[in-house]
Structures are given as C-alpha cells and as structure tokens.
C-alpha cells in the first residue's frame, strides 16, 4: 500500500504546486500593491497571462537558432522537475529518494544555463549582459547554498531532503544559532536566484540594472509563457524548499494518512502564504541595490553559511 | 743514512739550495736575473740528482742529472736569453703581486708543506725522503706562486719550469724510482719549453707584447654587448 500512497501523494503534490505557482507570483504582486497603497491586479493574473501568451505565435529573430526554441522548454522542464522533488505536505512521495539538495541545485543550475544560452542566442547586447550577470551572481550563490547543505548534512547525515525534513520535524535539534545563520543565508540565495528585490527587480525593464528580464527580452508568445512559468515555478520551489527544511511542521508522515494529508496541505498553504507575505513586505521595505553591490550581498550570504558551519563545529565540540 | 751523516747533509744542502733559489726567483725583478737564477737552480738540481745517483747506486739517476743539467742549466736559459734579445723585451718583470707579499706568502707555503709532509710521512724510515719531499713540495708551490705573481709570459714559463724542478727533486729523492718517470719528466720539460716557445712567438706576433694581462681582453665571447645581454636575460621565466 505504501507505494500507492507514495504515488498518490506525489500526484497530489504535483497538482498542489502547479496550482500554487501562479498564485504565489500573483499573490506576492497583489500583496505588494496593497502594501504600497495600490489596488493591484488579481492574484490570478499570472495564470491568465500564461494562457494568453500560450496562444500567441512567437516572433523570433532571423538569426535565432533552435536554442531559442528549445531553451524555454528546457527551463520550464527543469524548474518543474526540481519542484516535483521538493516535499510539500507529506513525506514519502514516490520521487522522494531523488530529492537531494545537491541534485536540486544542479537542476536549478541547468535551468540557469538554459536561460543564459537563450539570452545569448540572438546576439543582442542585453541578452549577453543579462547572461553574464546571471552566471556571475550564481558563482557566489552556489557556494552559499552548498554551505547551507553542509550544515544540514552535518546535522542530518545526508543531503536528502526527506532525511533533513524528518530530522527537523522531530525537533530534537532545538534552536541553534548556526541554523538561524543558515536560514538567513538560504533566504539570501533564494532572493538572488529568483531575481527579486534587492538583487533584481522583476518588474523593471531598466537596462542598467536588469538581469533576469534582460535574457528573455527576445522571447515572445509561448516561449515567453514558458519562461514566465519557469520563473514562477522556481519561486514556488524556493519558498517550498525553505518551508520543507526549516519549517517542516505539520507535514504528514509517509504512508496512508488522509487526515494527516489534509492537515499537511493546510499547514503548507499557510506556510507558503506567510512566506509570500514576508517576501512582499521585505520587497516593499527595501530598495533595489546597484548591480555591482550584489556580489557583496551574496558574499555576505556566503560568509553567513561559513559562519554557520563553523559555529556548528564549535557547538558539536562543546556538547 | 740519517741526520748527521755526510750523504744526508749534502743532499739536504742541495735541496735547500734549490728551495733558496726558488725564493730568489720570486725576489728577482729583472728578467735576466730570473733566467740566471733558474739556470743555477737547474745546475743544483743536476748536482742533487747525481749525488742521489751515487748514494743510491742508481746509474739511471746520472742520466737524469745529465738531462737536467743540459736542459735546465744550459739549453733553456740560453734559449730564453736569445729570445729576450731577439724580441727586445723590457728587461724588468711586471709583478702582479708585490715582492714583499709574495715572499711572505712563499714562507707560509714552505711552512704549510713542512706541516703537511712531515706528519704524513712519519711512518717512513728514510729521513732523507721526508726532508726531500718537503723541500720538493715547497719548490712546487713556490713555482706556482711565481706563475701567479708574474704577468710576463716568460716569467710564467720559468715559474712552470721551476715547478718541474720541484718534481724532479721529489722523484730523485725516492729510492728506485723507475726510469720512465725521470726520463719522461725531462722530456716533459723540453716539450713544455717547446710548446711555450711556439705560443710565445704567436703571442708576440699577434699582440706585440708578452704581458699576459693584455690577453685577458682578448678572451672570446667578451668584447661585445655584455650589458645588452644582461638586459635580454631579464624577465625571462625558466
């Protein structure tokens, strides 16, 4: 029966995250608008945009190659595949054995490369600019992420999300300074990876500062739809990741547990909503930073990760 | 035959005389004087060889004596004098090392050779051999010192030949030295003199001097662009 439960939870999870993805993006936009005193578009607007864009025939530059057409598919595929692996409301999903933090980082990196290559395909100045910045920032974000993984691996003995989540849910760890530092580092990486304020502004097309948007300037029609979808999926993924690692409360255990699932879904929705709210508040309160300040921001995240690992050594030694 | 016997005393005297003449060679400023002192040294060497031949009852040593006398006391000095006259050389020696310092150095060298030879040969029964060896080593070292202390080609050749005198002194002092060594030593002297003469003639031909310091300027791979080369080497990695 367990395998049935595993498959069921996996399918439920898929449906849940697919439904959540547009809502997360739309919800954050709506919340931000509200906080800034505007009415704002409906949280469902991203979904509508997606469906509309999907129906449009894309316009490609004359010298665009197959990369321009394949990359959006690859980007969306990689984002969705990664998201499928991050547990949401229950553990023991069918694909849980695959859910390794390093693998997820790899999938995200692959998505990033697809996006950067698409940006460079036509050979316009902006695409190259965005690609170069995106890849450079990742160079600092990735070590920070790996250090967070190191902290988790030291505690849980594995980088598998399933193991990590289970450990945190038991609560035997207690509150640790190093975990707090790791959380901050992970959040900083998440902000950078999703091109949010203060690293990037998803709502601007100001050429001097944009990173993510610069790469998809050339995309249109269904390609743009796929890129937007990929970006939404990635944002959902990061929020879900933070929730799954640091706030695993209420997650249903593996196996058949209908009630647990209901509780788990409710808890997950609440956690995601809270995270969206926090993100919207954060973005409203803070200004976009200059592009060349970003390395300092990410460097700080890297240092936090480093510090977290070192503190953990000390605490294990003292304990 | 030990200290006090006549044979020993005479041999000792002759050896000491040869060493003394080495000092004279170092002391002399004029080329003619140098040549003269060298001739006397050769004569004394011949006498020493003959005396040893008589004492050791070794007829071969008479041959050595004869050769030494013929070559070193007569032939070579005569040839050198002729050379001097033919080339019309400056008659004074240009010392590279002052007379005083060279004499001081010479005394130190004699001390060194005594210190080296006497303890080393302590096991040898023959006192004469020991003394002779110390004297011969002193003559050899003084000959080298003369080569270093003089810049004139002829003085340098004489230094080399006087060094050979020391060798022969050592060879005759050792009982039963095979003839081949003594003969070849004598032949060596002649050949050395011959080769030196050829080179000296070439030197005179080409450079119109016998001052060997002048030669230094003609060392190959020297004249051009020393500084330039230094610059080229800078900054090149291994």
């Amino acid at each position: 029966m367990d395998w049935l439960a595993a498959i069921l939870t996996q399918i439920l999870h898929l449906a849940l995250v697919l439904a959540a993805a547009p809502l997360v993006v739309g919800g954050i936009r709506w919340l931000k608008a509200r906080m800034q005193g505007r009415i704002g578009a409906s949280p469902l607007q991203p979904l509508r945009d997606f469906l509309k864009l999907l129906r449009k025939r894309p316009l490609l530059a004359e010298n665009a190659s197959w990369i321009s057409q394949a990359a959006p598919h690859a980007g969306a595929t990689l984002a969705l595949a990664a998201l499928v692996l991050v547990p949401s409301f229950a553990r023991g999903m069918a694909l849980a054995p695959l859910a390794d933090l390093v693998v997820i980082a790899g999938l995200l990196a692959a998505g990033r490369v697809a996006l950067a290559l698409a940006g460079m395909d036509v050979g316009t100045a902006f695409g190259g600019l965005g690609a170069s910045r995106e890849m450079s920032f990742a160079a600092l974000a990735e070590p920070a992420l790996l250090l967070v993984a190191l902290v988790l691996a030291m505690l849980a003995g594995s980088t598998g999300l399933e193991t990590v989540g289970a450990l945190f849910q038991e609560g035997s760890l207690g509150l640790r300074v190093s975990l707090g530092l790791a959380l901050v580092a992970l959040l900083a990486v998440a902000v950078a990876e999703n091109a949010r304020i203060p690293v990037d502004n998803p709502a601007t097309h100001l050429e001097l500062t944009m990173v993510h948007e610069a790469m998809i300037l050339e995309a249109s029609g269904r390609h743009l739809a796929l890129w937007e979808a990929a970006s939404a999926l990635r944002l959902t993924l990061w929020l879900a990741l933070v929730a799954a690692i640091f706030f695993p409360f209420g997650t249903a255990p593996a196996g058949f547990a209908l009630l647990g699932w209901v509780v788990g879904v409710a808890a997950w929705v609440a956690k995601m909503a809270l995270l969206c709210l926090a993100l919207a508040a954060f973005e409203s309160a803070i200004a976009k930073m200059r592009v060349f300040r970003v390395p300092e921001f990410l460097g700080a995240a890297l240092l936090l990760g480093l510090l977290a690992a070192l503190l953990l050594f000390l605490s294990t030694r003292l304990a | 035959m030990t200290f006090g016997s006549t044979g020993y005393d005479i041999a000792h005297l002759l050896g000491g005389g040869i060493l003394l003449l080495s000092f004279v060679l170092l002391y002399q400023r004029r080329l003619e004087g140098v040549i003269g002192a060298f001739a006397i040294q050769g004569g004394l060497l011949a006498a020493a060889a003959a005396w040893q031949g008589w004492m050791q009852d070794e007829p071969g040593l008479y041959v050595t004596a004869l050769l030494a006398f013929g070559a070193k006391a007569l032939l070579i000095p005569l040839a050198l004098r002729l050379l001097l006259r033919r080339l019309g050389l400056h008659r004074t020696v240009e010392p590279a090392l002052g007379i005083g310092p060279s004499l001081l150095a010479a005394s130190a060298l004699v001390g060194l050779s005594v210190m080296v030879v006497l303890p080393v040969t302590a096991g040898q029964a023959q006192a004469l051999t020991r003394e002779n060896l110390a004297l011969a080593l002193s003559v050899v070292l003084l000959g080298m010192l003369m080569m270093i202390g003089r810049r004139n080609a002829i003085s340098q050749v004489i230094g080399l030949l006087s060094l050979e005198n020391g060798l022969i002194l050592a060879a005759i002092g050792v009982r039963g030295m095979p003839l081949v060594v003594e003969l070849s030593t004598a032949a060596l002297v002649l050949m050395l003199a011959l080769v030196a003469g050829i080179v000296v003639f070439l030197l005179r031909d080409q450079l119109a001097t016998l001052d060997t310091d002048v030669l230094h300027g003609h060392q190959g791979e020297r004249h051009q662009g020393e500084r330039h080369q230094g610059e080229r080497h800078q900054g090149e990695g291994p």
């Binding site: 999907l54 129906r55 449009k56 025939r57 894309p58 490609l60 530059a61 004359e62 010298n63 665009a64 190659s65 197959w66 598919h73 595929t77 969705l80 694909l95 054995p97 695959l98 390794d100 390093v102 693998v103 490369v113 950067a116 036509v122 100045a125 190259g128 600019l129 690609a131 170069s132 910045r133 890849m135 450079s136 990742a138 160079a139 790996l146 250090l147 190191l150 980088t159 029609g221 269904r222 739809a225 796929l226 060349f292 390395p295 890297l302 480093l306 070192l310 030694r317 | 060194l112 050779s113 210190m115 080296v116 303890p119 080393v120 270093i148 030669l215 080497h233 900054g235 990695g237 291994p238």
Partner: protein
Amino acid sequence: MAQRLGAPFCRRGRAPKLAAGDPLSPPAVLTALILILAGLALLAVVAVPLARFAWAGLVVHGFCLFAAAVLAGVGLAVLLAGALPVQALPLGVPALVAVDALSAWFLLLLGLAAACSALFGLAHPLAAPRLLAAYPLFLAGMALALVAADGFTLLLGFEAMSLASWVLVAADHAQAENRHAARRYLAFALLGGVCLVPAVGLLGGVAGDLSFAAIRVAPPQGWVAAAVLALVVVGAGAKAGLVPLHNWLPLAHAAAPSHVSALMSGAMTKVAVYVLARLLLDLSGPAQPLWWGVPLLVLGAASAVLGALRANLEEDGKTLLACSTIENIGLICLGLGLAACFRAADLGVLAGLAAGAALLHALNHAMFKSLLFLGMGEVAHGAASRRLDRLGGLIHAMPWTAGAVLVGAAAAASLPPLSGFASEWLLLQALLAAWRVGDLAFQVLGVAVVAAAALAAALAAAAMVRLFGLVFLGRPRTPRAAGAVDGPMPARLALLLPAALTILFGLLPGTLLGLAEGAVQVLVPHGMVERSGLAMVRVGDGGARYWPLALTLLLAVVGGAIWWLVRRRAPAGVARGPAWDGGFMAPPQHLPFGDPVTQPSAAGFGQPLRRMLGGSLLAAHESVEMARPGDPGAARVTSGFTDPSEARLLAPLARLRDALAARAEQLRDLPLTATLMLPFGTLVALLALAAWLEAG
C-alpha cells in the same frame, strides 16, 4: 602484485576469467600491450621517411586509433578480469611493466581519449615528419608511464611523453608565442623529472630496488615520507597543472594542434594524476598521517578556483579550455587528497567514495574535455580563429559541432544528468562528509574547501556559457565565421564518440564505480567500496543518493508533458523578424551579418566576474578611456589580468637566477693570473685540510 590485486575479486567469488592457456591469458594480453608500445615506437621511426607521402598522416593516425582501441580494450579487460602480472620489458635496462586495476582504469581513459584524438587526426592529419613521429611516441610514452611497474619505467614513460609532446607543442614554432609556450612546457617537464626521480629514489631506499612491489613492502616513514610528498606534489603537480605550477598549461594547450591539445588535456594531465595517486596513495602505503592529504586538498581547491576564474577571463577558446582543465585537475586532486585524509582517519567508506569520485571525474573529464578541445579545433579549422571575439553564430554553420560541444560544455558546467555532474556530486558528497574527520583544523579546512569547490563549479558553468554563447550563438563576428562548415565524417565521429560517452557515463555512474572498484582498492586498500547499483550511487547507508537514470526519466516525462501541453494549446511554428538592434547604428556595408561591436564581447562577458573576484585573485585591471566631449571617436576599454604564479613565483625566481648567474660570471672575468689562483688555492686549501686532519 597480481595476487594482491586479484584477491578482492576472488573473495567475492568472481574468479578471474583469464586463465592460463586461454588465448586471452594474462601474458598474452601483456604481450599484446608491449607489442603495441613497440609498434608505436617503430611507427615513430618509420613516419619520418613516410612523411613525404600524402597518406602518411592517415597511416599514422589510423594505427594510433588502433593502438588506442587496444589500450582501452586492455584496460577494460583488466578491470573486468583482474590484474596482469609483472613482466620485464625486452630492453637493455631492467624495466618492468604490469597492469593492475589502477593502471587499467587510466589505460581505459587514455585509450578512449586517444581514440577520439586519432579519429580527429584522420580528418585533419598532421603533416610534418617530426609531428608524425612525435604523435605515436607521445601516445606510447603515456601508455608506458601507466603500465610501468617500477620507478625507472615510470619516469621513462613520463619523460618520453614530455619530450614527444614538446615537439607537438612546438608544431608551429615560427610563432614567437608558441616557442615561448614550448620552452616553458619543456622547462616544467624537466622540473617534473627533477622532482620525481629523487622521490622514486627515496621510495626505493638504500636497497635501491625500485620495483613497485618492493616499495610497497617498505613504505617511507618520517621525514622521508614528507620529502616524498613534497617532491611528488611538485613534480607530478607541475605536469598535472596544479596551482602554482600551472603556468605552462594554458600556453602549451593553446599552442599545440587541436587534437594534440585534446590528448594533452584529456590524457596527459591524467597520467600526472596517475603518478600522484600511484606514488602518494598506493606506494607510500596506507599508514600515513592525516596531513598527508592536506597539500593535495589545498592545492586542488586553489587550482579549481583559480582555473575556473581564469577560464572566465581568457579570450582564446583553447586557452579557456586549458584553464578549465586546471580547474578539473584541481577537483580530481582534491578528491585524492580527501581520500588520503579519510584513509588516515580510518573512514574507509568515505575514503573509497572520495577516491572513486576522483577516478570517475578523471574519466569524465578526459571525455568531455577531449570533446571540447576537438570541437574547438573544428571551429579553428572552419572559422580560422580561436579567439572568442572573432567567432559567433557557428551553430548555424556547424550544427554537428555545436551540438556535440553543447553536450561537452554542459558536462563541464556539471549539469545533471551529464557525466560531469555525476562525478562532482560524488565529490561534493565526500567533501560534505569531511567534518567526520575529528580534527577541528581539518573540519574548518573542509568547510573552506566545500565553498571553493562549489565556487569552482559555478565559475566553470559561467565559463562554459561564455564559451558556447560567444562561439556558437549570436551573429558571426567575422566573414570567416560566417562561412564555416562542419568537418568531414571522421571529425564528426571524433566529436560524437566522446559526446555519446559523456551522456552514457552520466547515466551510469554506478556501473562505472563498480568497474573502478579494483582501482579504488589499490588507492584505499582497507577501505570499503560502496556497492553502487546500476541505477544509483550513494554515500553509505542512510546517506544521500543520486539516481541518474530515474532523474533523466523524470526530466523526459516532465519535458514531454510540457511539450505535449504546449503543442496542444499553442499555435505551431514561429514568425521571423529582424533582431532588435538595441538602438545601435546600422552595420556598415562590409558587415552583412551585423556589427560585432553590438554583440557581447569576450571581455565584456567576463566583466562582472573580473570585478567580483578577478581583482583580488588575479590582479585584474580594467580601464576606460573616454573620447573627449565632442570627439566622435569610440571609447576604449582595456582590461587584463596577471596570473599570480607569474608575478609571485616565476618572475622572482628568474630574477634570483639571473642575479646568481651574473655573480658566477664574475669568476670568468678574472684576469689570467687570478685564474691560476683557483687551482693553486684549491691545492693549498686541500693540503691545509690534510694537515689539519693529520694533526687532528
């Protein structure tokens, strides 16, 4: 040795398949190997007179292809069936060869890389007699170093490989920079020899028996072990391209013909890694202390970061790839160092994991780097340049090459599910467990190394995007780039073979690890080798897992679903229009494919990283000269960097050497009489010494 290595196989009930009398019995395989080596040497001699015929290149590369296949076959056979015994080479000097699992693993690697290189050579053969002679010798030297069973044979192969490849690096010696590269290359090869020979001597000890079997019996201890470590790290590290002795590598790889660069980067640096592994992990015995692995760990991490960063700043395609080689060599050495540390801390499983990761990455890197160098060679042939700023848009003109290079670049960027990701995943997992070694200082070091490795991986991804994006994407930057075409069939095969293997190795890391088990056993004798399945690799019980096949399946299913959905809902086809010109002026008449100035440039693409990291690590600089107000001239940006090894290490050493040489030269300037002083002084000094000894 045969028994020693055969034992684990027997214990698990897998009896050696090769029995005596069998046509494939060990001596027969070894004889075949020796014959191939001799054949290569003979070919080198014959190639000189043959070179005047047009078909000589085909013959030489064809035979090399055959030899490579045999080498790979021998390697595979030994990995499957057990080690071959020691045998003496029929030379006038005692020289032993044997193939154990470690040798076999690297033989397999060499054979595969050489096969790709030789295939490419069939399409674009070398022509000059010296090159035709040097190419097979290069191959033979590498193979000899790998199968050597004593110190002498090892060094013989090592140095022969260096000399032969020097001829190849100096292939185009009319160019001054190529001569410079060749000179530096050979100088570093000499350094390698000068360090490795005494290391072997120290290992051999007073008995002077240099056979590996004898050395294993009496591993070095105390200061001898430390000296061996230092000498081997410098000697083999110089050949592998470890920081700070990596300076020659980008120069030489750029100077050599492309398929030679591929072989140098793919296989030759691995031979140096093999020497490192053989001398430090195998022959020095498992009883070394914890710090034994630390130099490799630290230098490996430094190489990884520096190489990857330089790859983002270089503007020549092959130089860029060479810097990426430095990075990957750094990662491999890091794995070996980690294995040594784990071994010293009695963490057998982790030691096996780290060693397996290093070996796997060596193989994977050999494949994808060969692929990339060959692809770059194809580009250089087609578009007549390797400079990133003179290429562009080649994906249209050279679709085969572009496709293959994309696979290689993705693997080099360590993207799942390709081979580079699999081995880096293993390596990272081993690193993430470094804290299990109890020492606090080591734990702190481990954290720093994790950050460095991750930084290197991300930088490598940036470098690969830069390479592929600037060379294959965008618009052509020169007319030659616009008119390029794909190479002939053998060249395409030479690209497709490593591309296919890169994908295959990415999908089956577990199988490969199983194959490498014997080799891992050689490096970590008492370590447990984690049994990995066909579909999965894992880190001990309850540890992390990686399921490449399942992941690929997931990607395929998700991708297929998305594709299907888009196809269902979206209109088919695309409309085409001119690219947005970004506000630039229309290109001049002679640039029908657009003005290259409007495209991202190599220097521009590297700018963020140059500013972020280049300034502190590579002394990078950048300056803008603006035209004066009113002057319509263009602004000019100049940027550059200096490798610290040049400024901090090589230049001071060269200055010291020149100063010493100038001092020594004063001896020559002495006048004649002073020259006579020298022997006189020597004699007097010796006499005084004798007198003193007598008195004392």
